[in-house]
Symmetry: C2
Subunit: 464 residues, 2 copies
């Protein structure tokens, strides 16, 4: 779940957005005082065709966020077909048998709304933010493209050129993105989280119409989707509109459980290094494969402990790493840690940093390692624990104040094996953690003998 | 092809044998003087059911090597089913509807023959070495188990315990094997050569009867196999026996081309490190993904240049690395290079070494890197080139003297995309290489910015 991290991770390593529109105008939802945060009366129901619907009432402004989430992401792709999930996100903006390409986007723009879409390892989502009276129109368009896309070669070829260009721009042209790809391919030895969401170039080049049609027919169906509607609406109204629009879409094939190849036990420490003339300040990150909220279900509190550990260690300006290495020792320009908890399968915990002034990257890395070792050896005190819990839980309260942020929390949780009650009970589960839980998580998971480090270095500075 | 390397690589990283019997008694084939090496009248034909048959006459002793090769290896396994190819090699020694388990092996032993089987990334093979009058019996047994295995849960369960124990013994109990696995998983970022032939433990544990039956029905068929018969036989005789035995087996389903996910362009240098109390002397290896004979077909001479480069650089006691670092500078206890050329897809080129006395591993690695840099910068002289060619081609002449070695060369070549003429023309292709070809291969492929190094270290000696 990693509720507070959602905002910062969004659009980062895990998610790959089409970014058709600019950032969501969250200011719209903040016209009323923040104190009147979104009420916790989230409701949900399932249509006869299997579409799960979640309604998050938020009456502070005449705005509605309409998000359709599919339980399909890059980690579900067939071998050799990397990039098809993201490619399909693009294809969803093409014409259907009822609407020409661009008609949906034009309709959103015409009423001053915004829209976006993104693909991640575990899900693909599409959303619009509009005034409530346009909700039915949005639902109509979204339900239409769930089944009625026209996928001809004339559509496929040019759009494939677009994703290839997107890869060239966003990955090939950016040393840190290239490094991140090979870092993931090294960190995960077996799980498809190792494969980039955008796909490997040589496989993207071969994606074709048959692949697209197979993918569409298999995964784009109401029984493989979650609709999240947040905003100035009521459940009865949403249900009536959903029945009228999505309700007409036929159920798709029953899909087998989402079982992907899992990580083996890891026994080595690894490094991944790149030097490039475009890099001016060196930086590094060190990651471990750890349980996610999705994979840790059988061990209650394990994912929560990792979430809180990330907060304690490097979750912002009050964290140990920041206080020690930026404020006190002045070794780091930036330093921190984060936990990718919102995932169906075992995911990652990461520390990162960039040195300041004359400090060597190696010096900074050793100082970060020393902070981890100290936490493993001495644990944390009660006051530090309580403060970190408060910061982490407060993150959810802030997230609740953001309509589309809330919709994202529900959508990402429900498409990665979680349930609504997991979100509702999350603050209590964080509050129940003990100092021993945090120390145990650090000891068990932040083992240097299984760490994978990546180094982004200026030209000429090779990692020895 | 890497003809001379076949012997040393056999049973190594690439191949995983059942090792039912001890080493093949090659001395049997050497009773006559080596000068009378195997004649180059290799013939081949295909049965109506698609079985390709290669006959290598060798009349020096009353011995025949009967090898059946299937074009199925671990790199063909479905995601999450790692180990099924090797598991199936084991299952082939179970009972059929015509013969009880153990009957085939007992028949081989009763006549003083030997047998073995092995699984690799690209193929699975079964062989017996017996007197020629037993060839028909061998063919009968082998043809029988191609289609008539009895695969009940009572057979599957206990044999799965055997492969799990094999993994515990051969991999989990051996730090160098564990390191090699994670080295491969790091070197190959996308291709299934990254997955161990024996399988990941957690996937092996789940292999079941349905998996085995699917695998058998799909891949164990005459049209997916190559029969190699070497020894005191003639083509007409082999053909008659093959028709009488294998000829009765029905053709299997047509299989699609063996297209596996390919490697992306690599942009980083990587390290994989393990320290363990059982390690006394440190060692390292550095590998690159390079074209194989199978993948380099469109670039004539490319794989041959890599083969000769491996010979020049570290192919034995006359090589540059050995002469410089063992003989002259006395830095290395062992040092060398090898090329895994016999593969369907892009494979690897490796240098390796272990320091001697007080020499640090890092010092040795730098000295090896300096030898590579020297070769890239200055190339090689004509005399050194000719000597290396002679050594490499002489390797094939030695291999020809070994009946089962020859059968293995033909079997492995024909199951990795090669043809008989590729073997026959290989010496000429090596002789045609220039010094510039070798320098170009070193420059293009032995790039430190894309190298993957693994370090096996004594406890307490961590890689910085």
């Amino acid at each position: 779940m990693a509720l507070r991290k959602l905002a910062s991770n969004w659009g980062g390593a895990l998610a790959l957005g089409l970014c058709l529109a600019g950032p969501v105008p969250v200011a719209m939802a903040q016209e009323k005082p923040a104190a009147a945060a979104i009420e916790n009366r989230v409701e949900n129901f399932t249509l006869a065709n299997g579409l799960q619907v979640v309604v998050i009432p938020d009456r502070r402004a005449p705005v509605v966020t309409h998000m359709l989430w599919y339980k399909i992401g890059s980690a579900d792709e067939a071998p050799g077909k990397s990039g098809i999930a993201h490619f399909f996100e693009h294809l969803m903006f093409k014409g259907t048998s009822n609407h020409k390409a661009g008609e949906f986007s034009a309709a959103v723009a015409a009423i001053g709304g915004s829209e976006n879409a993104f693909t991640s390892y575990d899900y693909t989502a599409f959303f619009q933010q509009v005034s409530p009276d346009a909700l039915e129109t949005m639902m109509g368009f979204e339900a239409d493209r769930m089944r009625n896309l026209v996928l001809t070669d004339a559509v496929i070829g040019p759009e494939r050129d677009v994703i290839l260009e997107e890869r060239r721009m966003r990955i090939e042209g950016d040393p840190s993105a290239l490094l991140q790809e090979e870092m993931s391919a090294t960190l995960y030895q077996n799980h498809p989280y190792r494969i980039p969401v955008i796909g490997w170039m040589q496989e993207m080049e071969e994606l074709n119409r048959a692949d697209a049609i197979d993918f569409y027919n298999r995964y784009y169906a109401p029984n493989n989707a979650v609709l999240v509607v947040a905003g100035d609406v009521d459940v009865a109204g949403v249900k009536a509109l959903a029945e009228k629009t999505y309700g007409k879409v036929e159920r798709g094939p029953d899909l087998p459980p989402r079982v992907r190849p899992q990580e083996p036990e890891q026994n080595t420490s690894r490094t991944v290094s790149m030097s490039d003339p475009r890099v001016t300040i060196p930086s590094y990150q060190k990651s471990w494969v750890v349980p996610s909220y999705g994979s840790a279900k059988k061990v209650p509190g394990q994912a929560e402990a990792l979430d809180l550990l990330a907060e304690v260690l490097g979750g912002g300006a009050r964290s140990r790493l920041y206080q020690a290495l930026v404020v006190k020792e002045k070794l780091a320009a930036s330093v921190g840690s984060y936990y990718q908890g919102t995932a169906l399968d075992a995911s990652s915990f990461t520390v990162y940093g960039s040195p300041i002034g004359e400090t060597k990257l190696e010096t900074l890395e050793k100082a970060v390692d020393a902070e981890i070792a100290r936490l493993v050896k001495d644990g944390i005190g009660d006051q530090e624990l309580e403060r970190a819990k408060n910061r982490l839980v407060r993150g959810l309260i802030f997230a609740r104040d953001n309509q589309s942020g809330m919709a994202r929390i529900y959508g990402s949780t429900l498409t990665t094996g979680g349930e609504i009650k997991d979100i509702e009970e999350w603050p209590e589960r964080i509050k129940a953690l003990t100092a021993a839980d945090i120390q145990r998580a650090a000891t068990e998971f932040l083992n240097q003998k299984r760490a994978v480090s990546s180094y982004l270095l200026p030209a000429g500075e090779e990692k020895s």
